[in-house]
């Protein structure tokens, strides 16, 4: 016990370097986003006003403060384009997370039921795509889904369709891409809780006269809820802000908020509105982020 306490002191010093790094490059930048979200667009370098110049004295800084306004936020909550993109993001994230849960659960369950030595192999097989580039995996789907791609060719050859179907630039293609990309994020936490479960519990349920389906619903599923929670958050939060997948696979008539932000920043060069969009997105995700933080803390530090 005392040895443990002696160890704790130098270990605390280990926090200094990563702490300073994260404050400087993770926390402080949000301050800049908040500040610029209150500024106005300008044709200048950098493209926003006012710019705080600490060298110009107190009066100039006061004037700069007075020039800050909530106009960008007013624009975001009143303009249909932005409101719809926030709504669309939430709907897309909710729908894809539901599909992911429904398709990921049976896979994770199957993995947990494999003989021990095969479980490691199966886990490796699920992790490998997670390590492989997002962009490349989306590109692989473009290959398959394009007008004269493999999918249309197979369907034509089987006489299931008579003319090629447009798959690319549709919502179905986008959902397919999202489910494909995020599936490992759903499977792994589910598998982690399912593999830890004691099979004796299910035996007890069946000894007491439960049908397998009932036993699953009353015993397995409730016990796997921590994994369900982790998987859902791990998918839902990043999907709300997703840019690459809707940009490459969905049509351009309705945008997700990640795309709007990208468009404002790179195409319209409107940094203040892009920043305000980021602040709103963050506000929207704050509750699930805090929940995820609690879960992660519980999982990694719960033993103590």
């Amino acid at each position: 016990m005392s040895a443990r306490r002696i160890f704790a002191r130098p270990a605390r010093f280990a926090a200094i370097a990563p702490y300073v790094w994260m404050v400087l490059f993770f926390l402080v930048p949000f301050g800049f986003v908040a500040k610029i979200s209150l500024s106005q667009t300008a044709i200048a370098q950098p493209p926003y006003l006012p710019v705080f110049e600490l060298t110009q004295g107190l009066a100039a800084i006061k004037a700069a403060f007075a020039a800050l306004s909530l106009d960008n936020f007013k624009l975001l909550v009143t303009d249909d384009l932005y409101v719809l993109s926030y709504l669309r993001s939430l709907v897309v994230a909710a729908v894809s997370t539901s599909i992911l849960l429904l398709s990921g659960y049976p896979i994770a369950y199957g993995m947990a039921r494999l003989p021990r030595r095969w479980q490691g192999v199966a886990m490796m097989l699920v992790i490998v795509p997670f390590w492989t580039s997002f962009l490349i995996r989306i590109y692989a789907w473009i290959n398959i889904l394009q007008h004269d791609g493999l999918l249309n060719k197979i369907l034509l050859a089987l006489h299931l369709i008579s003319t090629p179907v447009v798959w690319l630039s549709t919502d179905s293609a986008m959902y397919l891409g999202i489910v494909y990309s995020y599936l490992p994020f759903m499977i792994l936490p589910l598998y982690a809780t399912l593999a830890k479960m004691d099979p004796a519990l299910l035996e007890a349920a069946s000894d007491l006269g439960s049908s397998p389906l009932r036993a699953f619903w009353l015993v397995t599923f409730p016990l796997s809820l921590p994994g369900v929670g982790a998987g859902v958050l791990l998918c839902f939060i990043p999907i709300v802000g997703e840019f690459v997948i809707p940009d490459l696979l969905a049509g351009s008539d309705s945008l997700m908020v990640g795309q709007t932000l990208w468009l404002e920043f790179f195409t319209n060069k409107d940094w203040p509105v892009a920043s305000a969009a980021a602040v709103l997105l963050l506000a929207l995700l704050l509750a699930p982020l805090l929940l995820y933080d609690r879960l992660q803390r519980h999982q990694l530090e719960g033993a103590r």
């Binding site: 010093f13 990563p18 702490y19 994260m22 993770f26 986003v33 039921r113 580039s133 802000g241």
Partner: protein
């Protein structure tokens, strides 16, 4: 562990096979078509290496690949250093001031939408008047990937038997020495796996790099993305196949490392 109820059912096998098939089929098709001789991506014209030759004559692409490689190697190295320190502080440091904020800052980037992280870092770099290019991307990737390293190493540290460290100290080692002599060798596989994960994440990233890089220093994903937007090109298939090959090598090394790690105790999933 084996009992009547834990037997694997046909439904289990089917969902596993379907799931894994779904995950791998597109990648396999992509790799096969990279060896297609035909210019039309969808028509099979026999086996050929012509698109690989094309890549090696595409100077802009090679430059981007080299840039990505340098960024990935440097950011992964810094991230491994910082992430390991963070993991040690969190799992051995007991309570310290601002600990909740610290772990919050480390866990949030794991799920934070990349557009937010990218935009906020860019605004910082602009405010600091930093020249955008290699270093800004490297710093941005380090910030993201050190969190993944921290989680991987922390879960390994959590499963470690602490009586080993205590025994070393009871035998007269000071804490620093006990750490280097006992703990570090035990968590080394997790540290190596963490480096590999950081490397592949950096090699993969499009969004954060797009925000934080400057003119004339595009990374490989940025180049691939601008080509893909124009449509499917067989040369891109070849490049993607080479990236997949590189990542496969990295994974084999990492899984070898984690095998070593699990031989010494419970294995830690890289998430």
């Amino acid at each position: 562990m084996v009992s009547a109820t834990s037997k694997i059912s046909r439904f289990n096998v089917a969902s596993l096979a379907l799931g894994l098939g779904f995950l791998y089929l597109p990648i396999v098709i992509l790799v096969i078509y990279s060896f297609n001789a035909s210019r039309l991506v969808t028509v099979w014209g026999g086996w050929s290496l012509v698109w690989y030759r094309e890549f090696f004559h595409d100077e802009a692409m090679i430059e981007a690949a080299w840039m990505s490689f340098r960024v990935a190697a440097s950011s992964a190295t810094i991230a491994t250093l910082l992430g390991t320190l963070a993991a040690v502080a969190l799992s051995r440091g007991e309570r310290f001031k601002g600990r909740t904020l610290f772990s919050g800052m480390l866990y949030a980037p794991l799920v934070m939408p990349e557009v937010i992280t990218g935009l906020s870092l860019l605004l910082l770099f602009v405010a600091l008047d930093a020249e955008r290019g290699f270093w800004t991307v490297t710093i941005a990737h380090t910030t993201l990937t050190m969190c993944f390293v921290a989680v991987v190493v922390q879960s390994r540290l959590g499963s470690l038997d602490r009586s080993l460290e205590e025994a070393a100290m009871d035998l007269g080692c000071d804490p620093a020495r006990a750490f280097v002599a006992v703990t570090l060798p035990l968590i080394l596989p997790a540290i190596i796996a963490g480096w590999m994960l950081a490397f592949t994440l950096s090699l993969d990233d499009l969004v954060i790099a797009s925000f934080t890089t400057g003119p004339g220093s595009a990374t490989l994903p940025i180049r691939i993305y601008s080509e893909v937007r124009l449509g499917v090109k067989p040369e891109i298939n070849a490049i993607c196949t080479m990236v997949i090959g590189l990542i496969a090598v990295v994974i084999v090394v990492a899984s070898f490392a984690s095998k070593l790690s699990s031989a010494q105790g419970e294995s830690a999933a890289p998430l």
